[in-house]
Amino acid sequence: MEHLAYVAFGIYTLIILTGGLMAVLCRSMVRALVGLILTLFGVAGCYLLMAAPFIALMQILIYVGAVSILILFAIMLTRAPAGAEEAPYIFPWRSLAALAVAFLPLAVIGGMIRSGQVAPLVPPEEVPLAELGQTLIEPYLLAFELISVILTVAMAGAVILGFERRIGK
């Protein structure tokens, strides 16, 4: 079983990396979005590996099923310039710089792992759903409510912006 977990981890990592590269390198916005969706899927798989199927499913339900579709909707509704390619291809310098920036946190984490103690490998345990809920509304109640307030504010702001644009027209 442990071998299988390694194989799965490898696959998920591959998916995440492919998706990430697609999201960065694709010149068509929709393809980049597909890359993002792939990444989100890979992350959901990693949650599964960490014995958090609830979070994994929520990731798919919310990020893939709702957020990315909204992004896609927004892309479809904006008038992109003629031709399917939305951005000029810039390979040599800027992308190298981007790569360097991407590898920076990796280097930092790698350094920390090398210098510090690596936690022993313990098979993850699944947290029951009820316990998860209890945690959210008891010790982390304030954070939970704050997030919902922020979301409400964001939604109201979006609506106001939308109305303003319509009136402007």
Binding site: M76, L77, R79, A80, A82, G83, A84
Partner: protein, 386 residues
Amino acid sequence: MLHYAHEQLQGDYYTRAFQAGAQEDTLIINMGPQHPSTHGVLRIILELHGEYILRAEPVLGYVHRMQEKMGEVKTYPQYLANMGRVDYLHALAWNWAYVRAVEQLLELEVPERAEYVRVITCELNRITSHLLWWGAYLLDLGAFTPIMYGFADRERAMDLLQIITGSRLTYCYYTFGGVTADLTPQFIDGTKDFCKYMRTRLPMYKDLVTDNMILRHRVDDIGIISVDMARRYGVTGPNLRGSGVEHDLRRNTPYSIYDRFDFEIPAYEECDALARYLVRMDEMEQSISIIEQAIQSLPEGPVMPPKMPKVIKPPKGEAYGEVEGARGVIGIHVISDGTATPYRIKLRAPSFSNLSLFAEVSKGILLADAVSILGSLDLVIPEIDR
């Protein structure tokens, strides 16, 4: 939205002309020439903002056959066969309009029985036309079943017409002075049965379809055609009666023997697609009533005048044959120069005038409503293009 606006997709003459007037941030789409809800080869270029139509322009001529030129090179009887092809759904009305025009030129008296036969068959044909419209309109609205019911009922009427005319769709039955064949007892019995049958069907259609809530919401209050607009565009027929004007040539200038029958001219004041729908549904009932009365009082006698000229050579002059077709006033303007071929024939197609208002009526409505309005106008494309 045009993320794929490639050079090679620039479109033809009409698209380019239409694009020249387009605003920013809009989507131009072609509805047709091949489109499920244009019922034939009609093309409408639409400028959409989201799903709202900013501008619409019908493009005609895809089934244009130059009927009017044909009229100038064929003799009067030869051209008669063309009339059934102009409007294949109410072919007998076009037959009648042409025959009336030539009869006016020739000053021919039509025997009484022939007039009755014409009334019976023309009304039967009107019912078939309305039934087909009914089914096709609901198909436009996304209901798949009514067209099957409409077709099945229409089939019965067409079988009846086939007995006496010999054809099913593009009839060439009326002729100058009368009709080509007399009614048979089989037809008369069958027509009586059909009237009885339709009287049971129409209430069922009302229950099943007309009173359906979704349908009501789809057709209510869309495609408003005011009386003034109808006047400016020359809208006639059920479309006009849906605007509350009780204009019907069968009543206003009673031709043939329509003044002998007791029937109503259904009219609704709402001016919307629902009103036009209801007018047509009521008209079928009135047609049944006319057919029943005509069969009741069908006189004996010949169906052709006793002596007919061998060659049809009307004297110089002009005539305007008008008939109330299923779609409105059909008018055929014939100018004769005294020879065996007409000098000029002008066909006034009701659908042509009815469609011409589409550009005005479709401003600012939803795409789905445009389909609904287009259906409610009851267009026959060969009639528009002629």
